[in-house]
Amino acid sequence: MKILLVEDDAETLEHVTDALAAAGHRVDSATDGLDGLARAMKGDYAALILDRMLPGMEGLEIVKRLRGSGSQTPVLFLTTMSGIGDRVEGLEGGADDYLVKPFAFAELLARVNAMTRRADPQSGRGVPTRLNVGDLEMDLIRRSVQRDGKRIELQAQEFKLLEYLMRNTGRAVTRAMLLENVWNLHFDPRTNIVETHMSRLRAKVDRGFGDEMIHTIRGTGYVLRAD
């Protein structure tokens, strides 16, 4: 994927560029807000990664201008950890996701992947009523799940968790992404919420069905895939 990174800190820029390149992405970069906006307007990027605080023009302003000009390119905001309340502001301004510095590169890659998938017109055509991954089937209208033809009874939270995993089939999702998108929790919990719910879901979805579909990726999170 071709990604534009706008970041004024040289070291962060270098590290993030390396990490994205190592994951197979092509990266263009800008260190100034105005330059960033000009490139974003011109280039055909799959995703934009913007720092919130930039010289020349703030990240939020860049997103507003982009959206104003009709661009739908997914945007991920990077911000310092002190930016409380920035998340809502950023998302309202038109950003698709939000990541607080310092972050793990795995987290950044997972979010960029999820973001570009959401924006992919092929995947978003029409509102799906069914999700299928291998022999796993989810009916979004009847709120029911089957695997290999056998009905699986899920609690509401487990259903939401599985739905999120299935919508991101084959892509790693991090704990933070799950906390935010499945349970709407925007802080780092002290208890193992993700692990608890995940193990319950695994017990229902994977146990007794031969192949495991939910896999743990060390240092990153989880992935659901049909081998």
């Binding site: 950890m81 793990a104 709407n184 002290r190 208890t191």
Partner: protein
Amino acid sequence: MFSAPTKAFLRFVESRKRSISLLCRGSGRKAAAHFSWNRFRLLHTEGFRICAIFVAVFALAMAVLASSVLFIVNEEFRDQIVQFAQADIAAVRDGYRMEGTSEAVEVIGQRMAAPGASDFFLLERGRDRLAGNLAPMPAREGVVALAYPGPDQRHAILGIGAFLAPGLYVFSGSDLFHARLARQRIVATLIWVFAAGLVLAGVGGTLVSRNFLRRTDAIASTCRAIMDGNLKTRIPVRGAQDEMDRLAETINRMLDRIAGLMENLHQVTNDIAHDLRTPVTHLRHRLERARSQAATVQDYEQALEAAIAASDEILALFTALLRIAQIEGGARRSAFAPVELAPLLRHLQDVFGPVAEDSGHSLSIRLEAMATVRGDRDLLVQLFSNLIENAIVHTPGGTAICVVLALTDGRGTVTVSDNGPGVPLEEHANLFRRLYRREASRTRPGYGLGLALVAAIAELHGASIGIDRRTGAGFAIGLSFLVTDNRPPDP
């Protein structure tokens, strides 16, 4: 231009000036500079400025008063002179009508002798003066003003001329000198009054400004002392309850608040330094050990994993501290919206129920009422999550945790209680302190920021917070919110 004594005085001043300036030169440049700076400062005070405006208004009022008085006095004198003259002319005319010219001459003689009479008379036929003390002049009827026959410019004659019969002219008039004299006296008096007023205003202004300056100087010197590091200095309050006292008290209160915040910051900085030393030291030890002892790639990988985890923990601690600081700053209040507490708590039960169950706890929830509060949903979720997680983390398995939403005295109260071992009373006061961790929980994960964050979020929402003081019955913490809407619970 100047009278002789004035010139003498000016010469005296001129001679003194030289010696004064010599004296100044002798006392040194610095002293002279200081003197002029002081004078300059006094002129630039608000008090002096107000005085100057006052003096200007006063001078304007005096000028208006003086010109009206002079106008009125002038008119009055003229009226009086004209009236006298009219009476004279009428008497002479009566005499002439009854007895002829000789009687007119007689009447003039009588009137000139009477006390308080007009100063000048004339009766002439053709070019001949028949009576009076004025030289013959061109005969004009009505009110007539004449130059005084003499060198003194201050004199002038005003009077009335009339014809008794064709060719028989009579004039009666008075000297305007008296009127002019009275005017001069009035002007002199007003100038004295004005000068005295000016001096008084100047003295008053100086006193007021000096007092004002003294008090602002006190504030300035206090501020300088604080800038120099003497943070305990406060502005003296005179106890007069005036606006300067109120200002001083307000500034002092502000200084107290800043001092309190700084002390708090100082405390937190110390705590952070202390609390960070341990994880940073551990991190360093691990890295050193890896360098000296790691033999395989796997060893290195493990060491790096541990190092990353340790640095994450340190960063998380920073994030938590900054979050508290920001919430305490009240930055998020602008984004407040109505939040229904019941569904929020139900959601948390769904999230934390399985977690509690897995660690052998039970989490139950009782919604006795519905309550809507104004707030930030994310922060309220974090607040209640913190309380529930505290109960899960700090109590042994088998403990029952109960969350209750109720309406008490019109306020929405949320209580999180457990039947665990509880917290000793003497530690209750310390629970909300940042980075405070009970000895018993030092080995568990967490930074001792949970309840400090809870307190900060509660404060932001105007919620009061209370801990159940009964001991031996587990631990219970309650929050009381102002509700914007309450209904009976959904069936």
